[in-house]
Amino acid sequence: MFGYSLSEVGNIFVMQGFSGLSLFSVLLLMALGLAVIFGQMGVINMAHGEFMAIGAYTTVLLSNIAVSYDFVQSYFVFAIIAAFIVAFIIGYLVEYGLIRHLYKRPLDTLLATWGLSLIMQQIFRSIFGAKEVSATLPDWLLGSFKLTPNIDIPINGVFVMVLTLIVTGGVFVFMYRSRWGLRMRATVQNRVMAGAVGINTKRVDRVTFALGCGIAGVAGAAFTTIASTGPTTGSLYIVDSFMVVVLGGTASLIGTIASAFGIAQTQSILQFFMTSSMGKVATLLTIVVIFMMRPEGLFSSKVRK
């Protein structure tokens, strides 16, 4: 196969599969936030990548503080929480100032949030500079496991995956086991009735949007462990994350997870055997073709429309 021996192909699949898992983690965290916002509210948030960048920059800032006050080994946990809170608050304000005026016009929301993303990118550039910055990582995130002599598994990748698992679990519990989640799902199913039984639907919208942004912030914190952050980092992931949500079917978290996994693995394995750009082209093309054949997404809830 392509001039590699069988054991080499096996190793390549494990290593590429693992790097696919890191990509899967970031994509999933991004897409979870999007799926919450798009799936629950029907709002297209083109600035979602910038909320991820907010999380990443928050982490970088905290790491700088940690370096000067010497608590590098432990800051990362705080950084994740801070990234969530900062992105949550900014998301809350954005919903209040912008999104809530545009709920009935989804295409206009798309344009307005694109404008917002331009503004946010420029703010990043003015504050942090056009160069990419990276956080100082604690020692326990560096290095790698050696599974076999030929297979290296980087620790930061494992960490990002564990974090993704925790956040995904958290979103599940929040959506399906908490009072807030119940209100959100009620509002999605029937806004008027939800209002009639005393749910403050406007507040639910605001919290849903802010929550989605907060998850993007966590994605940003996770992102700093595997790459450096620049003003346009977020925009690199936005199309991919939309593809994840669209392919997975908007109303289903399981679908989001499955499609994030499929896309990330396909892309990272194809990128090894083809050039990086052709692997990306092949992946996106596959998604578009699948979508054209199954417009409701891979995992759609069966609803009579």
Binding site: G42, I44, L98, H101, L102, K104, R105, P106, L107, D108, T109, L110, L111, A112, W114, G115, L116, S117, L118, I119, M120, Q121, Q122, R125, S126, V239, F242, M243, V246, T275, S276, S277, M278, K280, V281, L284, L285, I287, V288, F291, M292, P295
Partner: protein
């Protein structure tokens, strides 16, 4: 006025607006500006083709395509491939390992012109390709999407993804497309040097006349029954479907028309500017062209041209002097247009025109001679500023 002229010009008021636009771009700007600036305006005008196509598709059809850059790029690349082949004759490329092929192919160890470049040795085939290839793409995409009743934001996202695919493909396949630099060093069109000042003027006028032609064609489409159908579909798609019309076919048709108009703009861009590069194909240019149409007024063909000229001019001016401020302004423009001026400049103009005497008389004279659009029963669909149904 006879009825064909009325349809082409959009009534007496439309004729005056179009004449004013024509006077500005054909007479006033060439008198005021030096050849360099005229080249710039010419470049803006090529963007205006896309803005006009978006007025048709988005303003009247309610279909937001974030992939118009793709069609612009396909048209532009088709023209650039023809010009590049003409510029790489064996004599002027004799220092290459393989003379007679474009320089970037030689750099990438390609020794023969690839098959998909072959048709571009003929101008007729190139012109056909400019018009038909993007239209064909639009047909495929439109057929796959609209027949499955995919629309709204899904359509926007998928067209954006397809645009991304095309731009990654162009950048990645350096040997076949010139990669990130694009196709440069274009010299002559059938032996006529396109880089001189006089050529710039000739191309500018050709450009402007083609644009006016496209606007008249669009007026014709919009004033026909099909134009009414578009509005009806935009506002109450289900009702149109239940009345027995195949909504998908109308959408595919308008998508193809808008792709063709954008492609003409792209081809003219290559001629006017003298190169084509992937930076005019990707996601960012595609969405910027949406804002051109939105600023001018998404319902107004002529407004879209003014919007394009103003925003592009602002971009050139600000990004030269205050590059930081520009992104803030651009972002603010997106938000402001959506929140406060959903009908753009044309909306502002329509709001205040009744205060100015002769403009009011113009629009009243149009009303006395009812057009297709004039008698609107109370409960039928009307043109609302918002292009979407909730």
């Amino acid at each position: 006025m006879n009825s064909l002229a009325k349809k082409l010009l959009d009534g007496r008021e439309g004729a005056v607006s179009l004449a004013l636009l024509a006077a500005i771009i054909l007479i006033v700007l060439p008198l005021l500006l030096d050849p360099f600036r005229i080249g710039l305006v010419g470049k803006y005008i090529t963007y205006a083709f896309v803005a006009v196509s978006l007025v048709l598709l988005w303003g009247h059809g309610g279909i937001l395509s974030l992939g118009q850059g793709m069609f612009f790029g396909l048209g532009g690349y088709a023209m650039a491939m023809f010009l590049k082949l003409e510029a790489s004759d064996p004599i002027s490329t004799k220092i290459q390992t393989t003379p007679g092929i474009p320089d970037f192919m030689d750099w990438n160890q390609i020794t023969a012109i690839p098959w998909f470049w072959q048709p571009f040795q003929s101008l007729t085939l190139t012109l056909l390709a400019i018009l038909l290839v993007p239209t064909f793409f639009a047909f495929i995409i439109g057929y796959a999407m609209f027949k499955r009743r995919v629309g709204g934001v899904y359509f926007a996202i998928i067209t954006q993804a397809i645009t991304l695919i095309l731009s990654i493909l162009i950048i990645g396949q350096q040997g076949y497309t010139g990669g990130v630099n694009g196709i440069t060093d274009l010299k002559t069109l059938l032996g006529w040097d396109i880089r001189t000042d006089s050529a710039r003027y000739v191309l500018y006028y050709l450009n402007a006349l083609l644009l006016i032609g496209c606007i008249m064609l669009s007026h014709y489409i919009l004033s026909s029954k099909f134009g009414m159908m578009l509005l009806a579909m935009r506002d109450k798609e289900e009702r149109v479907r239940f009345s027995g019309y195949d909504v998908a076919n109308f959408k595919i048709f308008i998508f193809c028309v808008s792709a063709m108009i954008s492609a003409i703009g792209g081809a003219m861009f290559t001629l006017q500017v003298g190169f084509m590069s992937p930076s005019f194909v990707g996601i960012v240019p595609s969405i910027e062209m949406v804002i051109f149409a939105a600023v001018g007024g998404r319902m107004s063909l002529i407004g879209a041209v003014y919007g394009t000229l103003l925003v592009s001019f602002g971009k050139t001016m600000f990004s030269e002097t205050y590059p930081e401020l520009w992104l803030f302004l651009m972002g603010g423009l997106f938000i402001a247009v959506v929140m406060f001026f959903p009908n753009g400049l044309a909306g502002v103009y329509n709001k205040y025109k009744n205060k100015i005497g002769f403009l009011r008389r113009l629009s009243e004279s149009d009303k006395e001679t009812p057009t297709v659009a004039a008698p609107v029963p109370a409960n039928s669909v009307t043109a609302k500023p918002q292009g979407e149904t909730a």
